[in-house]
Amino acid sequence: MKQEEGWEPKLLGFLCRWCSYAGADLAGISRKKYPANIKIIKVPCSGRVDPLFIIKALRLGFDGVLVSGCYPGDCHYQTGNYRAQRRIAITKKFLEYIGVEPQRIQASWVSASEGGKFTEVVSEVTKELKEVGPNQSFTDGR
């Protein structure tokens, strides 16, 4: 796979409004550094993330998608993150069978107090995506 000089992966993050988004906020307030590769969409709950969003993001040319929510048991709506867990597990495995690199679909639990963990997750995911290379699945060139 050809890779342009200075290419940076584009990562789309769906962050739950109660935990992960607050965690990302905290990372900012604490002036922690994390890669600028992530574009964030705030969702009410990680359970709001329809697998369709993930596929659409890949279709639009994002190199990876990160869904992040509250820790198990901490969901503001009790069960939203558990449901997200099932959906994302299915989506990841299924897309792997179709031929999408599994690294492109990522999930994490980040609480509102974990600004540090948020920066770590974004750095790790960005690093993995750099190794995988650009998402050319939906371009005509592949």
Partner: protein, 321 residues
């Protein structure tokens, strides 16, 4: 029991149900306009029940009509259909007490495309097709030829172990042993699994460049019961209206994930596809994934919560950071 006897029993049952007012409609199969084919018959008229047929070509999954029919319905169901019915009950789309299921112990259906390939002839040129246990007799030009049943059954039928419907009120005949060929049933999936990721993607890319997005696969699917499908949404516009392969593939991937845990591997999507896209290689794989990850099979237990609304706190979490 012979198909003929089953048919007579079915006529009797259906007529009685309508006469006694136990159901408002009967949903079954009648002889189609093309050779060997059958077509759905939905009727309120007792006299129409004589047109109902049972044969190895009753391919439609009739449960797709159930959420649309108002009132009580009597439905003819094979095993795969009965599982779709159970799945619809799980999803609260229909109520068990509103339907009377006339179950058919189905030993597998004959795929006319396979027959045509096998003989190198069009179905119009064939005189007769009959089945007896593990043999299928096909008469061409006045000459009868035998074939092993496994060569002409639908791929999904080859993977179906139990002929008896999962849920029924009346069973038309005794279940006989199923003739299966599990290897052949998932041969195409195995082939795909053996090649590299890039090749798999290219394979699907090629297949979906043929797709004309007619949505036949969606419309025929009992698991696809949304009143408004995401493909028709305009705000946001999920899919570009022009059927390019990217959007075609995206549609099918999202559809498959949406019906995960509802798909019973009835194979209807693949059968109706006018472009012969091997859709069952997607649906069957999803069926297996769901089983592997969550030990869940669609349409087996009508009191169980649907897959995507339930959870176990400790399952499938190894990928989460």
């Amino acid at each position: 029991m012979e198909d003929r006897e089953r048919e007579q029993k079915l006529h009797h049952e259906a007529k009685t149900l309508l006469e006694q007012g136990q159901v408002d409609y009967i949903i079954g199969y009648e002889t189609g306009s093309l050779k060997f084919t059958t077509t759905p018959l939905i009727t309120k008229d007792e006299d129409d029940t004589d047109r109902l047929v049972v044969n190895p070509f009753i391919v439609n999954n009739l449960s797709v009509y159930l959420p649309e029919v108002r009132g009580k319905a009597g439905i003819v169901a094979k095993r795969c259909d009965s599982r779709s019915i159970v799945s619809l009950i799980q999803d609260n789309k229909i109520a068990r007490e509103d339907i009377v299921i006339m179950g058919i112990p189905c030993p597998g259906l004959i795929d006319l495309k396979k027959v045509e390939l096998l003989l190198g002839k069009d179905r119009d040129e064939l005189d007769n097709i009959t089945r007896e246990g593990d043999k299928v007799m096909i008469t061409v030009d006045g000459r009868e030829r035998d074939f092993p049943t496994t060569e002409v059954l639908f791929d999904n039928c080859l993977g179906c172990e139990f002929p008896a419907p999962q849920e029924y009120d009346v069973l038309l005949g005794e279940p006989s042993l199923s003739i299966t060929d599990k290897v052949a049933s998932r041969a195409r999936i195995k082939e795909l699994e053996a090649v590299s990721q890039g090749k798999r993607w290219n394979f699907w890319r090629e297949e979906f460049s043929r797709c004309i997005r007619c949505y036949a696969c969606r419309n025929v699917c009992p698991a696809c019961f949304c009143q408004r499908c995401f493909v028709e949404e305009t705000e946001p516009l999920w899919l570009m209206p022009m059927p390019r392969w990217q959007d075609n593939l995206m549609f099918q991937l999202a559809r498959n994930i949406h019906v995960a845990g509802r798909c019973t591997d009835c194979g209807e999507c693949e059968r109706v596809c006018p472009m012969n896209i091997p859709l069952r290689s997607l649906t069957r794989k999803m069926y297996e994934l769901v089983d592997e990850l969550f030990q869940y099979q669609a349409g087996m237990d009508k009191s169980a919560p649907p897959l995507l609304t339930a959870y176990e706190p400790t399952e499938a979490e190894d990928f989460i950071r």
